[in-house]
């Protein structure tokens, strides 16, 4: 009886499966999906990127024709549908993540370094090395709405670094050659307000804004300290923090500039890569004083906190860039050292921190780690991967 029933059921079930399967195929392009678990991996050498999803860790497609993507970065539209890619060659490309295709692309300068999206999502700002300055574009059409050359006192243009968005339709950036911090304010209308802070220190190389959007902090290559601007009290000006933190003791050659973006805030502490030193500095976030230095494997490039703040993952500059170390925040000690392979370039956590995606450029691989078991759970093969950017950034100031 049971056997018969089973056989009897078999044929319609099979038919149903086939029909559903075919329907699935035919309608694949129309299948609805959200973008909350999407992201992209920059393939720096081939001018392409791979759209990925972090739920089952798969690549959804590749987008090509993005130009020189060395040092490329991305921001996301507030609905998580589009990514804006900032290429080294001045390319600004808007990517449709759902269609995995280029929605728009312009070359906006000769040489650019990064970008940001405004609080309301309507403006895209790009920081340029050549011509030194910031250009701002309509996020919808990529038409230019403002051009702010970083003119120095002698009339020449400065390279611009550390561009971030801030609450109140502001963009903030630093002038590498001039040693200045500028605040661009679009809340006043299409003609932005511009406030300049001069003599903040020599050669700011990168900057970050705290996730609450209150403090802008620029790392200074030419000085033993960092420059801090409190956006709630702009009139108080730029102040120096961590003065004499050790950059000057015995200058080591710096083979790669550290990145401050994604600077780790974990609980009451900030973790930041020391310039040129094999150390991660721990700073008390309320007093801005150094609490401790954690010796690490090499010159740190990124120190990124797991979203719960319990761990900080660190990668390193050439020639020690085959390693990743994990700092346990409560004990401020290294609990894990991985050797994923040559040229670990970037690490990105999923929004709730259960996975971290790590790009290993020279191995043509992205590894996905489970941060609970601390094991690699999945490997994706990609071409010379560098930056990894997930759509959760869409909802965060400064990213």
């Amino acid at each position: 009886m049971i056997l018969n029933n089973g056989r009897f059921l078999c044929v319609p079930v099979l038919l149903l499966l086939i029909i559903v399967g075919m329907a699935g195929h035919a309608g694949a392009a129309q299948t609805l999906r959200g973008t909350g678990d999407l992201g992209l991996i920059i393939e720096r050498a081939s001018g392409s990127l791979v759209v990925v999803e972090t739920t089952s860790h798969t690549a959804l497609g590749r987008v090509e024709g993005l130009g020189d993507l060395s040092h490329a970065s991305a921001v996301f539209s507030r609905d998580g549908r589009f990514a804006y890619i900032f290429g080294r060659d001045g390319g600004l490309t808007k990517i449709d993540l759902l269609r995995t295709e280029i929605a728009k692309r312009i070359i906006q300068s000769g040489n650019s370094i990064g970008g940001a999206i405004s609080q309301d999502g309507k403006l895209i700002a790009v920081s340029n090395y050549k011509p030194g300055g910031v250009r701002v574009f309509d996020a919808e059409t990529l038409e230019m709405v403002a051009d702010i050359p970083a003119t120095m006192e002698d009339g020449t243009l400065s390279k611009v670094v550390g561009l971030v968005d801030a609450p109140g339709q502001k963009f903030i950036f630093s002038l590498w050659d001039a040693g200045e911090i500028w605040v661009l304010d679009f809340s006043v209308g299409p003609e932005p307000g511009l406030t300049k802070f001069k003599n903040v220190g020599r050669n700011p190389y990168d900057a970050l804004i705290t996730s609450d959007g209150r403090y802008y902090v620029a790392g200074l290559f030419g000085e033993d300290g960092l420059a801090k601007l409190d956006l709630w009290h702009m009139d108080a000006g730029v102040t120096r923090i961590l003065d004499g933190y050790g950059r000057g003791e015995e200058k080591m050659p710096v083979y790669k500039m550290p990145h401050l973006e994604g600077w780790a805030r974990a609980g009451d502490y900030l973790f930041l890569p020391a310039v040129g030193r094999h150390e991660v500095l721990v700073v008390d976030a309320s007093t801005w004083r150094e609490v401790k230095r954690i010796p690490v494997h090499g010159q740190p490039v990124f120190a990124v906190a797991r979203p719960d703040g319990r761990q900080v993952w660190v990668n390193f500059a050439h020639p020690r860039n085959d390693t990743v170390q994990v700092i346990d925040v409560p004990s401020m000690s290294i609990i894990r050292t991985y050797t994923p392979g040559k040229a670990v370039l970037h690490m990105e956590f999923t929004p709730r921190g259960e996975q971290v995606w790590i790009s290993v450029r020279d191995e043509d691989r992205v590894d996905v780690y489970d941060t609970r078991t601390m094991q690699v759970m999945r490997t994706l093969s990609t071409q010379k991967p560098s930056g990894i950017f997930l759509t959760a950034r869409a909802g965060r100031t400064g990213l």
């Binding site: 720096r44 050498a45 020189d68 060395s70 040092h71 080294r88 060659d89 040489n111 370094i113 090395y129 050549k130 390279k159 670094v161 590498w176 050669n203 190389y205 290559f221 030419g222 200058k251 050659p253 710096v254 083979y255 790669k256 500039m257 050439h318 020639p319 040229a343 450029r361 020279d362």
Partner: protein, 121 residues
């Protein structure tokens, strides 16, 4: 001290040094002494270094970034020796790292040549 006077131990010392050098060269071809012909492998490593690691500041196509463009038309004031010296010494005040801890003279000259010939890409 004695070993310096008696020829036999001295010879042994020289032989040992030669052996050490040969081993070092075999095991770590990265430490190529000046004047040595670089292996094909090492040269391709250096090409890679130029594109990706120098490229992190000078741009992957060497058209410039934080550091200036390094294409032949930008380097007309330089010859191989001065360029190699610059690479090894760097200009730490201006964020150009000196590479002497990582590269030998021969390797720096190889990079200088690649830059001047403009086939670094």
């Amino acid at each position: 001290m004695r070993s310096l006077k008696t020829p036999a131990p001295n010879m042994r010392f020289v032989e040992a040094m030669i052996a050490v050098l040969i081993c070092a060269a075999a095991l770590a071809p990265t430490i190529a002494p000046a004047g040595e012909v670089l292996s094909q492998n090492r040269r391709s490593d250096l090409n890679h270094l130029l594109r990706h690691d120098c490229g992190s500041c000078h741009g992957m196509t060497l058209k410039g970034g934080l550091g200036p463009a390094l294409l032949p038309e930008h380097l007309t004031a330089w010859d191989v020796d001065s360029l190699a010296a610059m690479i090894l010494r760097g200009n730490p005040q201006k964020a150009m790292p000196g590479w002497s801890e990582l590269l030998s003279d021969a390797e720096a000259k190889y990079l200088a040549q690649r830059l001047l010939e403009g086939d670094a890409q």
